[in-house]
Symmetry: C2
Subunit: 112 residues, 2 copies
């Protein structure tokens, strides 16, 4: 997708939001979920995702739990208490950002 470059700055917020919804998820699952929700428009690359998860964990916003399923490794992440609070803040900021962007790109000849 051509616009897969556009989510810079919001990846960690997306991760937090999904974890808030799902309770716990592992990395690969997150990439698939985002692809499904956006119908393929947003593709989170592994090179972006894993460092982002590690950073959120280092910041104390995520806890990790390793599991082995079908002989394959999975690292399940979930929000810490601090992570839940931070999710609220970051979502509010992202929604504000989206509103601003809409103001800027709204059609030239729209009513109002």
């Amino acid at each position: 997708m051509a616009n897969s470059k556009l989510y810079k700055g919001s990846l960690s917020t997306i991760i937090l939001k999904l974890l808030d919804e799902e309770g716990k998820m592992y990395g690969y699952e997150i990439t698939q979920k985002v692809k499904a929700i956006t119908k393929g428009d947003l593709k989170i690359t592994e090179g972006a995702l894993y460092p982002a998860l590690h950073k959120l964990e280092a910041e104390g916003l995520l806890d990790v739990e390793v599991a082995k399923v079908d002989n394959r490794l999975r690292k399940y992440y979930k929000l810490t208490e601090q992570g839940e609070k931070e999710t609220v803040n970051r979502l509010a900021e992202l929604e504000e950002f989206i509103r601003s962007m809409q103001q800027l790109v709204k059609p030239k000849w729209s009513i109002q």
Copy 2:
């Protein structure tokens, strides 16, 4: 603003869109327009704006015309023909991106 970091990747599209609307604008005018439209939420810094304008010009999407008003320099930018075509594409991508983001951050308990 805390979320002024979130527009990475979309600045050039914002510039193109504004020039498409206004016909021609100079740098400082663009910063003020964005501030006004977003009610102060998005502030385009000069360190981001001027390099972005120069890049768009180098890519052949903008033409520049220097003017002196009140003994002060102004560089008016306007879309080239190619710039107009590119604006359509980038706006479509940005709108698609915004839609994707909305899907991702929509409230947990919303209907549907």
